[in-house]
């Protein structure tokens, strides 16, 4: 395929908060303006806008893309919203990538926004509508059910304990203490705190889950000839992949996310990566629940099946380990405004690979990172690989 090279040249984000005074439009505008200012561009330089945001049911607003479009700088431009559930935050930059790689546009603004706090009293209930209306919803399912059941299946299949998994929440919430936008950073948190937090849906305790949040993140993507004029340190998109598993989620193995593996293999092939465990230096897998980080590392082929918790026990995935995982603090620490949380992971790679991550900077001048998100009814995987070389 004759595709052009695409780089990330700017990034911006708002604080992730439990409830923001700003509307979704205002959050989107703050993040977009920051991303443009970070690379000294203006909206006039942007040729198209890609927007990511999760279900309309959270906001009670129909056609959220159009509602948010002014805050995202979309007026008078080709504009498109993508939505693949929790996978949206990594899919939206993939959409931006093919807008530029195809040769259609030279500079694209990618904006992801989420405002989960409007749903009253708690956004959780909005998730009811993801279940099948005839065969599942009459049972009054709770979103926690499917995560708790997947976690239980994962623990049972590989003989993993809740304590092994709680270490992930501790690592990510400690990492988030160094993130200026984080909602739940805590340098002092311990495994006992996680295990002793209230049980929501066994085996899931309150501190095993990321909080619902409001926030926005934006990136500027540019074609090679533009990127090189804008910055000396463009961060290149080397590979992308996405994949979908069956929506009949009770008709498949829950212990292993094969759709994540298929998405990862697509991205590795595009990036020319043969040995991902050696060639990926930073990983930002999707971690709305602590077990999901382990589950996803295995699907990404970065850990053997059932062995991801051991990598953490060995210190490999700590910020100063051989393969830092969620150095940002992830969804568990920074917060989980769904689409914005996924794009936050891509922004983290951008800052890390440029050496601009401040207190969160991983040592050793990393050259390549991978971000992954996941969503819908536990069935979609989205993967992007960023690197310092085109």
């Amino acid at each position: 395929m004759a595709m052009r090279k695409v780089a990330v040249v700017g990034a911006g984000m708002t604080k992730f908060v439990r409830r923001a005074q700003e509307t979704g439009k205002e959050l989107a505008w703050h993040a977009s303006r920051m991303a443009l200012e970070s690379c000294e561009m203006t909206l006039d330089d942007i040729e198209a806008v890609c927007l990511g945001t999760a279900p309309d049911s959270f906001d009670g607003v129909h056609m959220k893309a159009e509602y948010l479009s002014d805050g995202a700088g979309a007026w008078g431009k080709p504009f498109m919203r993508s939505y693949v559930g929790g996978g949206t935050g990594v899919f939206t930059p993939i959409q931006g990538w093919y807008h530029v790689a195809s040769g259609l546009f030279d500079a694209v603004l990618v904006v992801c926004e989420e405002k989960m706090s409007s749903y009253y009293p708690h956004g959780q209930a909005a998730f009811m509508t993801i279940f099948d209306h005839t065969t599942e919803r009459p049972l009054k399912p709770n979103l926690l059910w499917i995560f708790a059941m997947e976690m239980n299946r994962y623990m049972h299949t590989y003989g993993i304990s809740k304590k092994d998994i709680a270490q992930v929440a501790v690592k990510n919430k400690r990492n988030a203490a160094d993130h200026p936008c984080a909602l739940l950073g805590d340098p002092e948190i311990t495994v006992e705190d996680v295990l002793n937090s209230e049980v929501l849906a066994w085996p899931v305790n309150r501190l095993d889950v990321s909080p619902v949040s409001d926030g926005a993140v934006a990136l500027v993507l540019a074609a090679e000839h533009v990127a090189k004029r804008i910055t000396d340190k463009p961060v290149w998109i080397q590979g992308v992949g996405w994949n979908l598993d069956t929506a009949y989620w009770t008709n498949r193995e829950l212990a292993y996310p094969r759709y994540v593996e298929y998405a990862a293999r697509m991205a590795y092939e595009m990036a020319g990566i043969k040995e991902p465990r050696k060639e990926i230096h930073i990983v930002e897998p999707y971690d709305p629940f602590d077990y999901k980080e382990c589950h996803h590392l295995e699907g990404l082929l970065l850990a053997d099946r059932g062995q991801a918790p051991q990598l953490l026990a060995d210190g490999v995935t700590l910020r100063d380990g051989a393969m830092p995982v969620c150095p940002s603090g992830g969804l568990l620490g920074v917060g989980n405004p769904i689409a914005a949380a996924g794009l936050m992971k891509v922004a983290e790679l951008y800052w890390q690979l440029r050496g601009e991550a401040g207190a969160r900077q991983v040592p050793g001048q990393p050259k390549r990172g991978l971000a992954q998100a996941w969503g819908d009814l536990m069935q979609v995987g989205t993967v992007i690989i960023l690197g310092t070389n085109p």
Partner: protein, 173 residues
């Protein structure tokens, strides 16, 4: 990031800001009523539930028996060949003890959602339902369970025609 930006936008609010009237907001409720068509395959599934049995679908090409039944096979994209009557027994594939309702109310006695692999369906093929008549402490993966049905005259052709699944020992009726 931290090099270029010292301040990040976004103004956090607390519950107190609402209760004490420090900020303005507009509260409203939406009411939405729907009547969903069952479609062909799920219509047959619901009709079977009303009769008191579980219905699956069989694809001859993939040699798979799935539940609930569907009109098209996801694997080969051919029409599903036939409906198959399945047992109302199965094995717990996974479960949770859930102390929160769907609309985030706390409850003392947990709900027991489970994925139940249905006897007669292909391996790992099951449905989501709830467990009952069992101490939460005793629930385990691999537990054999049987459907507990509503009385025939109360069934309406819905997944809730099965009240829950309860444990049984092989050989018991």
């Amino acid at each position: 990031m931290t090099n270029k930006f010292k301040e990040f936008p976004g103004t956090p609010l607390s519950e107190g800001d609402f209760k004490e009237g420090k900020i303005l907001f507009y509260h409203d409720q939406m009411k939405a009523d729907f009547a969903w068509d069952t479609g062909v395959a799920i219509g047959s599934y619901l009709a079977a539930l009303k009769e008191g049995y579980l219905l699956g679908g069989y694809c001859q090409t993939c040699r798979k028996t799935v539940i609930p039944p569907r009109t098209v096979c996801e694997w080969c994209f051919r029409p599903m060949d036939s409906y198959v009557r399945l047992e109302d027994t199965g094995t717990v594939n996974t479960f949770s003890l859930c102390y929160v309702t769907w609309d985030v109310k706390r409850i003392k006695e947990p709900e027991l959602p489970a994925v139940i692999e249905i006897d007669g369906a292909s391996p790992l093929h099951g449905i989501m339902h709830k467990l009952g008549e069992v101490d939460p402490e005793d629930v385990h993966i691999g537990m054999r369970v049987r459907a507990v049905w509503k009385p025939p005259d109360e069934r309406e052709g819905a997944i809730t025609d099965i009240l829950y699944f309860k444990p049984f020992k092989e050989g018991e009726s």
